[in-house]
């Protein structure tokens, strides 16, 4: 340890402390409330008299958590796959081909990104009514996949551009066709990009609120954010220890995955911003 770096570290942490405290405060509230015995929930003390782990068990039954968890997993996994399957070829085309309408397509994607679901929500609702798929989680899955295309293409493209064309050209020289080169040379190199994009799409779908709130009508089809929201909205008594336990269970796995992967995301986004 050198003392100059030690002093710098102290100053850095001091400057960051307000934001770190503000970022951690809701987590602290969530964890502490989730572990308070139900009789102590309404007293705003920091330390519960004992850790009430049973809250998680009672929450599971009381909040229909398992069903919402299943729906969330189903929607998020399928939306991620769907979005990747259409985004990978598009990103490849934008990176490796110079074609008429390329700029138009980029801007079209940009517009889909700008027009977030909330602006279109009335129109989307009408579309789903017309198709007869209100309260259908498959319809929600398709909408999630579609709204993630712009971001996925952007991320993938920024990574794809860093893969040298030489490698593919070398394979063509050897007589491999374009398709074979794609599968044998390009895609294996692009795996990290696809993984990061998939995780980002998954988190987006996992956390989405407006579309689910509008298109899903019955408890059976609720995803986690809507299920948990339904526990606090329009009720006279809210079982906050259950709500916080549910929030905790829905949040922590995703937050850990994110913490682990955020440096890749940071790199990808930075690349994307420079492109």
């Amino acid at each position: 340890m050198n003392s100059a770096k030690l002093r710098r570290s102290l100053v850095c942490w001091l400057i960051l402390s307000p934001i770190v405290v503000a970022a951690l405060f809701p987590f602290a509230v969530m964890v502490i409330t989730a572990l308070k015995p139900s009789t102590e929930v309404l007293t705003p003390t920091w330390w519960p008299s004992r850790l009430a782990w049973e809250n998680f068990r009672t929450m599971w039954a009381a909040t229909n958590f398992g069903n919402a968890l299943r729906n969330s997993l189903y929607v998020s996994v399928l939306a991620t796959l769907g979005s990747l399957i259409v985004s990978i070829p598009a990103a490849y085309a934008l990176t490796r081909f110079d074609f008429k309408g390329r700029e138009f397509y980029r801007q079209f994607l940009l517009v889909t990104q700008m027009l977030s679901p909330i602006v279109l929500v009335v129109g989307l609702f009408r579309l789903m009514v017309a198709l007869g798929v209100i309260d259908n989680i498959n319809a929600v899955t398709v909408v999630y996949a579609a709204f993630n295309i712009a971001f996925s293409v952007w991320m993938l493209q920024s990574y794809f551009a860093t893969i040298p064309v030489d490698l593919e050209e070398a394979a063509w020289m050897e007589g491999a066709g374009r398709a074979k080169t794609l599968v044998k040379v390009f895609l294996p190199l692009a795996v990290p990009a696809m993984v990061v994009t998939a995780i980002f799409t998954f988190i987006n779908a996992w956390n989405e609120f407006v579309i689910a709130l509008t298109l899903l009508r019955s408890q059976d089809s609720y995803t986690l954010p809507i299920q948990i929201f339904s526990l606090v909205s329009g009720r006279y008594t809210v079982e906050w220890h259950h709500v916080m336990a549910a929030t905790f269970a829905a949040t922590i796995p995703v937050a850990i995955a994110f913490a682990w992967l955020q440096r890749f995301l940071v790199r990808g986004l930075a690349l994307g911003a420079v492109k």
């Binding site: 942490w13 809701p26 490849y92 129109g123 709204f147 374009r178 949040t251 937050a255 913490a259 930075a270």
Partner: protein
């Protein structure tokens, strides 16, 4: 590229185009229809009414209030986030003990859904049992409970603060990308010339991260302008519509009051404003592309 492959890119982009177009073009067309007709409660189109739905909005004081409040919300959150993010990114760009941990902690709010964040804060801000009040009392900052969400005077600023907190991670990320693109020897040269830290920041760092700040500014403006869950999950625009912004107003008019024509008109107004932001963004990225 040879002309033989000229079909390939179109085949490759087709599936993504079809899917993205489905959820944008159809709804936009639908919004245009609804906004220009009178619509009954069951969503059936009646007569063509031209601009009547838009005029109804202008006569609704709640719409005008929400429009203003959207401006305050957007400027407050985006401005606050950028002001906080620059120093945070500068610090995170330094080499210090525990930097990786610090990065994770600053980025963490990004991973949590806005709905969950809003629900946790709603509980933390509750007047009698909220832990923010008890924390502030413990530190002797306040001496009686504040009913944070019971009136707009405290609810809306708190929502803006939470908005800032959740916008910081993305903004820091973009700025860090900008900082990483600055070569170290620029600073070394400046230090040799006798430039102090502030001068280095003012004349090297700031101009070189300016394009990144611009992009963060425009993208955040679009995201924040459209942000629905924080306000909806905390107050649903209440009490008495006093925390409504355009998106929550739109949702209420459309799905609570069932006035689909007026709600569509709000959507189209937002669409127009967003289009302006988009054009600014395209301008910014295009001018950067030309420079590169």
């Amino acid at each position: 590229m040879t002309s033989k492959r000229v079909v390939a890119p179109y085949v490759l982009i087709l599936p993504s185009f079809v899917l993205a177009a489905l959820i944008v073009i159809w709804p936009v067309n639908e919004l245009a229809q609804l906004a220009s007709h009178s619509v009954n409660r069951f969503g059936q189109l009646r007569d063509f009414v031209g601009m009547a739905n838009f005029r109804a909005l202008l006569d609704d004081p709640n719409f005008i209030d929400a429009l203003w409040r959207t401006g305050i919300w957007t400027i407050g959150v985006v401005g606050g986030a950028i002001l906080c993010s620059v120093p945070v990114a500068l610090v995170l760009n330094e080499d210090f003990y525990g930097r990786d941990l610090a990065r994770v902690l600053v980025m963490l709010p990004w991973a949590v859904s806005l709905t969950m964040t809003a629900i946790v804060w709603r509980w933390a801000l509750s007047g009698e049992s909220g832990m923010l009040n008890s924390a502030l009392m413990d530190f002797g900052i306040i001496d009686e409970n504040i009913q944070w969400l019971a009136e707009a005077r405290t609810a809306f600023p708190m929502q803006i603060l939470i908005g800032i907190l959740v916008t910081i991670p993305f903004t820091v990320t973009i700025i860090l990308g900008g900082l990483a693109s600055i070569p170290d020897d620029l600073y070394e040269a400046a230090a040799l010339e006798g430039a102090g830290r502030w001068e280095q920041f003012r004349y090297i760092t700031l101009p070189l991260i300016a394009p990144f700040l611009n992009i963060a500014l425009v993208l955040n403006t679009i995201y924040v302008f459209n942000s629905f869950p924080i306000i909806w999950a905390m107050t649903q625009g209440g009490p008495a519509n006093s925390t409504d912004i355009l998106v929550t107003y739109l949702y209420k008019v459309g799905f609570r009051l069932g006035k689909l024509g007026e709600a569509s008109a709000v959507s189209l107004v937002m669409f127009g404003i967003l289009l302006v932001f988009t054009l600014i963004y395209v301008r910014l990225t295009a001018s950067r592309g030309a420079k590169a």
